[in-house]
């Protein structure tokens, strides 16, 4: 039996992996996928197909929700010969990327592939995303205003 806590941890790992895949650049992910040499055999249950989601914000930042525009999203669902079903959704229209992300989501559910996927695909993507964010933060931080007070008059 898997305990509730373990199940939550597994869900969180899957959520994080899917987020990393969604945020990865298409060519970046496809290159890592090719290099990892994982099995590609899977049946496509849905897509990859592109559609819209309506993006919501909150009035005042934290108040009642409102719709403020649409964004393109591509999704795919695949099924491995062994039965695992993988899903992927990502902003944009990169169909190859999203199909590969769905394959990875399905393969991750097989214990044999978990370490390989983590090491060869997720870890490098995570590192690049963290680095890119840190770079962006540092560039923004350099434009921070350091106020200083001018002392005028005597004493």
């Amino acid at each position: 039996m898997v305990s509730r806590q373990e199940r939550q941890a597994l869900t969180e790992q899957r959520r994080e992996a899917m987020a990393i895949l969604a945020m990865a650049g298409g060519s970046e992910l496809l290159a890592l996928w090719k290099e990892a040499g994982l099995p590609e055999d899977a049946k496509t249950l849905r897509g990859p197909e592109t559609g819209l989601v309506t993006v919501r914000g909150r009035m005042g930042g934290g108040g009642a929700p409102f719709n403020f525009g649409e964004a393109t999203v591509t999704r795919a669902t695949v099924k491995l010969p062994s039965g695992e079903v993988g899903h992927a959704y990502a902003l944009g229209r990169e169909k190859m990327k999203v199909r590969v992300a769905a394959l990875i989501d399905a393969l991750r559910q097989k214990p044999d592939f978990q370490d390989q996927i983590e090491e060869k695909i997720l870890a490098p993507l995570r590192a690049r995303q963290t680095e890119a964010d840190a770079q962006r933060r540092a560039e923004t931080a350099a434009t921070k205003v350091d106020f200083f007070t001018m002392v005028r008059g005597e004493d």
């Binding site: 993006v55 914000g57 930042g61 934290g62 719709n67 403020f68 393109t72 933060r137 923004t140 434009t143």
Partner: protein, 368 residues
């Protein structure tokens, strides 16, 4: 009677071929790529995404190229494309407090947690044309400063601690946010529908209306409480998974306008607020939107409605530039039959008028 007249097919075909040639420009120069448009004319692309109401930089860049840089034409193209795609659902509301901030300034607090971050701004430039840009000189790479990550609470939350500012804005808990792309607009509107219309409204129109409130047509004493630009995560709940899914990140601009308010019978004196949230780096638009949002709350706040910017039906019905351009530009399409009918009518009226004049003369002569 409706009379169909055919003709002009060859002229139309050749006109479109000519358009393609003129769009291409000088064939001795390389054709501009979508990547170049998206990265070097990124604020044009942002405007097309925001008013086209579709976040997709590649499609918006294509629209800018196809429209030869005509922004409203590009916006029109993007809106038309949108209608061809199926809808997968609504996202969770984005959390702007958790934004990866690229710019954040407040005109109300100098020392606020997280600081004032200027980011890639035109502010404090001298607005002098830069001849160096006419050459291909490469600019220096940006300065970087490593700093410990600091939380950047929204300025409105700081003021809220004192109770001197109204809350973020609420609607009944069980209300499904209105969607003007699904239901035809009816007046009066709720604030959520207005915000949706304003977010995709024409920047120039909203800018002019915002300006009019500053000049005294519905004055409400605004301060830019906070402007922040950066990327927010977009999450969605889908039926096949029991956890919210991250779709990626989008860049947005948020403006919190803080306005003076003397209070009413129901509400004690406090600061009120206007809100702006738009796709991309679109600071002017977000500011104009928040000014208009506040002005349109006049009724809710028991203020006299005296100015155009406070008139909901006027503002919302005219802020959509795709609708506006459609109706204005349709005037140039053939109206031959309509015009023939009007011409006949004016001729008849003129005849009657001239006969009337003649009668007046004869009557005057008879009276003498």
């Amino acid at each position: 009677m409706y009379v169909a007249v055919k003709g002009g097919e060859a002229a139309i075909q050749n006109a479109h071929r000519l358009l393609a040639d003129r769009r291409r420009g000088d064939r001795n120069l390389p054709s501009i790529t979508l990547e170049q448009i998206a990265s070097q004319l990124s604020l044009a692309v942002d405007r097309v995404m925001s008013e086209g109401s579709l976040y997709d930089t590649g499609l918006a860049a294509l629209a800018v190229k196809q429209a030869r840089g005509d922004m409203i034409e590009a916006i029109f193209l993007l809106r038309a494309y949108r209608t061809t795609l199926p809808r997968f659902g609504y996202t969770r509301p984005v959390d702007t407090a958790a934004m990866l901030v690229e710019r954040r300034v407040s005109a109300t607090y100098k020392d606020l947690p997280g600081g004032q971050l200027l980011g890639p701004t035109f502010d404090y430039t001298h607005r002098l044309l830069d001849p160096e840009l006419a050459e291909d000189a490469e600019p220096a790479t940006p300065e970087a400063r490593s700093e410990a990550e600091e939380a950047m609470p929204r300025v409105s939350d700081i003021l809220a601690n004192e109770g001197l500012i109204e809350e973020d804005g609420s609607l009944p808990e069980d209300r499904e946010p209105g969607d003007i792309t699904r239901e035809p607009p009816e007046f009066p509107m709720e604030r959520d529908q207005r915000l949706q219309a304003l977010s995709r409204g024409d920047e120039g129109f909203l800018l002019a209306l915002g300006y009019s409130t500053q000049r005294g047509y519905g004055r409400n004493h605004p301060f830019a409480g906070e402007i922040r630009i950066g990327e927010v995560e977009v999450e969605i709940d889908v039926p096949e998974l029991d956890f919210p899914l991250t779709l990626g990140r989008i860049r947005v601009t948020e403006c919190q306008m803080v306005n003076q308010f003397k209070g009413s019978k129901k509400v004690p004196p406090q600061f009120t607020r206007g809100y702006g949230l738009v796709f991309g780096q679109s600071e002017r638009k977000a500011m104009a939107m928040s000014l208009c949002d506040r002005a349109l709350r006049a009724g809710e706040l028991d203020e006299d409605i005296t100015a155009p910017a406070q008139d909901e039906e006027f503002v919302i019905s005219h802020c959509d530039n795709v609708q506006a351009t459609g109706f204005v530009e349709h005037l140039k399409l053939p109206h031959y039959v309509d015009f023939q009918a009007e011409l006949g009518l004016v001729r008849q009226m003129r005849r009657e008028y001239e006969e009337g004049q003649k009668d007046k003369v004869t009557m005057a002569e008879a009276a003498e």
